[in-house]
C-alpha cells in the first residue's frame, strides 16, 4: 500500500446514492421527481467535497464519513416518508452552507477566545427565549416556532457552551469578573444552563452538556477536588431527579424492565427492540420492513429503522462510521498546537461521540432512553444544521494545522 487511494470511499458513496435512489424511484411508482431529488443530493455532496479539495480546507475524511452517514439517513428517511426525506435534504443543504460559514468564521476570527462573556450571554439569551416563546413537543418545552418553522435552540447552545468552556480551559481568560474567579463563573454558568434545561425537561441535552463539562474538567482541571465535587453533584441531581420527577422514574423503570408494561410505557422501546431483532443480519431490504409500529422512527429511533431494513450489519456500520468520525476528531485535536483550538476540538469530539452513545445506547436499552438526536442521521433541522456547524469548526481546526507554515495568500 504505497499509494493511498482517496477515491474508493468517494465512489462508494456515489454508488450507494445511485442504487438507493433508483430503488426509491422504483418504490414510488417511477416518479421522475425522485431522481431529481437524488441527483440534487449527490451534486450537493460532490460540490462540497470539491470545494474542500480545491480550497485545501484541511481534513478530507470528516466530510467523507459524514456524507456516508447522511446518505444512509436520507435513504432511510425517503423510504419512511418521501416528504420528510426531501425536507431533510433541504436542511442538509442549509447545513452545508452553515458548515462553510462556520469554517470561515472560525478560521478568520482571531478573538474567539476573548469573548467568553458574549458566549455566556448568548447562551442564556437563547434559553430565556425558549422559556418565553417555547412550545411543548413530546413533553419537552425546547422548541421555538418562527414563521412556521420550529427550531431547537439547545442544539446551538451546546456549541456556544463548548466555546465558552474553551475560553476558560485554554487559560486565555484569567482575570476575575465582578469579584468572582473564572472557575466559579464557569461552574455557575454550567449549573445555570443545566437548570434552564431542567425547566425545559430536556434530559438528553443535560446529560450531553454535563458530560462535556466533566470530560473537559477531567482533562484540564488540576484541582481534583473540584472534579470530585461535581461528580457528587451529578449523583445528587440524579437521585433528586429520580425521586421527584415522575418522568425520569418511568424512564429508569422501563430501562430496567422494558417488558413490564410493553403496551404503555415500554411501548416505544419494545417495538424498537422487536424491530432490531426482525432485521436479521442483512435486513429486510429498503421498504420491506414494517416500521409503522415504532413511534418517533425518523428522530430518536432511526437507528432501529436502519437495523430493520439494513440489518445488524447496517446498524453496526453506522456505529463504526461514528467511531471513525470520533477517531478523526480526536486525531485533529491531538495534532493542534493552539490551546483554544485544542479545547474546542476536544469538546466537539466528545459531543459527537457522547450524543451517539447516549441515543444508540438508549435505543438498544443499554442505558435509560433520553430523547436526543443522532448527529447527521436523525431528521430535524436544528440538529442537522448544528451538527454541520460543529463539523465546520472541526474542519477549520484541522485546516489551521495543515496550512501552518505556509504563506498566507491574498491576506
Amino acid at each position: 500500500m504505497s499509494r493511498v487511494n482517496y477515491r474508493i470511499p468517494l465512489y462508494m458513496v456515489i454508488l450507494m446514492n445511485i442504487l438507493g435512489f433508483l430503488l426509491i424511484f422504483f418504490s414510488n411508482d417511477f416518479q421522475v421527481n425522485v431522481l431529481y431529488v437524488g441527483l440534487g443530493f449527490m451534486a450537493l455532496f460532490i460540490l462540497v467535497y470539491t470545494v474542500l479539495i480545491l480550497c485545501r480546507m484541511g481534513d478530507k475524511f470528516l466530510i467523507m464519513i459524514v456524507s456516508m452517514l447522511t446518505t444512509i439517513s436520507i435513504l432511510m428517511l425517503c423510504r419512511i416518508d418521501l416528504e420528510i426525506g426531501v425536507k431533510q435534504i433541504v436542511w442538509i443543504a442549509l447545513g452545508c452552507i452553515v458548515f462553510f460559514i462556520a469554517y470561515v468564521f472560525y478560521y478568520k476570527l482571531r478573538f474567539l477566545d476573548k469573548i467568553w462573556l458574549l458566549y455566556a450571554l448568548v447562551g442564556t439569551g437563547l434559553f430565556v427565549m425558549t422559556l418565553v416563546l417555547g412550545k411543548e413537543i413530546n413533553g419537552s418545552k425546547n422548541w421555538i416556532e418562527i414563521g412556521g418553522m420550529s427550531f431547537q435552540p439547545s442544539e446551538f447552545t451546546k456549541i456556544i457552551y463548548i466555546l465558552f468552556l474553551a475560553c476558560y480551559y485554554s487559560k486565555s481568560w484569567e482575570s476575575s469578573f465582578l469579584k468572582m474567579s473564572p472557575t466559579l463563573i464557569t461552574g455557575l454558568v454550567s449549573y445555570a444552563y443545566i437548570g434552564f434545561l431542567a425547566l425545559q425537561r430536556d434530559w438528553g441535552t443535560i446529560l450531553v452538556m454535563f458530560m462535556i463539562y466533566m470530560f473537559l474538567m477531567y482533562v484540564y482541571e488540576s484541582k481534583r477536588r473540584l472534579l470530585g465535587f461535581n461528580i457528587l453533584m451529578v449523583i445528587v441531581v440524579g437521585v433528586l431527579g429520580y425521586l421527584t420527577m415522575n418522568h425520569i422514574r418511568v424512564r429508569v423503570n422501563v430501562w430496567l424492565d422494558p417488558w413490564a408494561d410493553p403496551s404503555n410505557t415500554g411501548y416505544q422501546i419494545t417495538q424498537g427492540l422487536y424491530g432490531i431483532a426482525s432485521g436479521g443480519y442483512f435486513g429486510t431490504g429498503l421498504g420491506n420492513g414494517s416500521l409503522q409500529n415504532i413511534p418517533e422512527i425518523q428522530n430518536d429511533f432511526i437507528f432501529s429503522a436502519i437495523c430493520v431494513e439494513m440489518g445488524v450489519f447496517g446498524g453496526a456500520a453506522v456505529i463504526l462510521l461514528f467511531f471513525l468520525l470520533s477517531y478523526r476528531c480526536f486525531k485533529i485535536t491531538i495534532n493542534t498546537t493552539n490551546a483554544f483550538n485544542k479545547v474546542v476540538g476536544l469538546g466537539i469530539s466528545v459531543m459527537f461521540s457522547l450524543q451517539t452513545f447516549i441515543i444508540i445506547g438508549g435505543v438498544i436499552n443499554l442505558i435509560p432512553l433520553t430523547g436526543i438526536t443522532v448527529p447527521f442521521v436523525s431528521s430535524g433541522g436544528s440538529s442537522v444544521v448544528a451538527s454541520f456547524a460543529a463539523l465546520g469548526i472541526m474542519q477549520a481546526i484541522s485546516a489551521v494545522e495543515e496550512r501552518k507554515g505556509e504563506d498566507y495568500e491574498g491576506e
Binding site: 470511499p9 462508494m12 442504487l19 435486513g283 429486510t284 431490504g285 421498504g287 431494513e309
Partner: protein, 160 residues
C-alpha cells in the same frame, strides 16, 4: 409489488457490501496514518534524546556546587546548556556525562519552552531532587533552583 420486494432484498446485500467497502477503505487510510505516527516517534527515539524545538534558542547555566565528589569526578565549574534539551546521566549518549556510580544512564532532562525552563526525572533509580524534594513529574526551573542527584549538586541559572 412482488418484483420490488425481490430487488429490494437483493439490494440490501449490495448496500451492506458498499458500506463495508467504504469503511474498509477509510480504515486503510487510518492505518497508514497510524503507521506514519509510529515512524515519527521512532526517529526521535533513534536520536537518543527527545529534542523539543524552540523558535529562539534559550541558554542557561548549570553551576557545579563545589564538593569533594565534584573534584574527584573532574566536573567543570559550570555548563552552558541550550534550550533544545539536555540530558544528564552516566550513559555515553548524554549531553553532560557524569561518571558517578549512583546515577542512572539517563538521570534527568532540562529543556525550555516559550522562555520557561523545565526539568524532568528520566525514571532514574536513585532519583533527582529539586530544592530537596524528589522529582516525580515535570517541574518548572527558576534561577537559584538546586538540583541534587547522586552525591552532586547543580545550581540553575537562567541566561538572559
Amino acid at each position: 409489488m412482488q418484483g420490488y420486494e425481490l430487488v429490494s432484498s437483493i439490494l440490501s446485500y449490495v448496500f451492506t457490501t458498499i458500506i463495508y467497502i467504504f469503511i474498509f477503505a477509510v480504515v486503510g487510510l487510518v492505518y497508514l496514518d497510524i503507521k506514519k505516527m509510529n515512524t515519527k516517534e521512532n526517529e526521535t527515539k533513534d536520536g537518543g534524546k527527545k529534542t523539543i524545538p524552540v523558535e529562539d534558542e534559550d541558554f542557561a547555566i548549570l553551576r557545579t556546587v563545589k564538593s569533594r565528589m565534584a573534584v574527584a569526578l573532574k566536573m567543570n565549574a559550570a555548563y552552558r546548556i541550550s534550550g533544545k534539551g539536555v540530558v544528564v546521566g552516566r550513559g555515553k549518549k548524554c549531553d553532560i556525562i557524569v561518571n558517578d556510580m549512583y546515577l542512572s544512564a539517563a538521570q534527568f532532562q532540562i529543556w525550555s519552552e516559550d522562555g520557561k525552563w523545565y526539568i524532568r526525572d528520566m525514571d532514574s533509580k536513585n532519583g533527582t531532587y529539586l530544592n530537596g524534594s524528589r522529582l516525580k513529574k515535570i517541574k518548572q526551573l527558576k534561577t537559584g533552583c538546586e538540583i541534587a542527584f547522586g552525591e552532586l549538586k547543580f545550581l540553575f541559572e537562567e541566561e538572559d
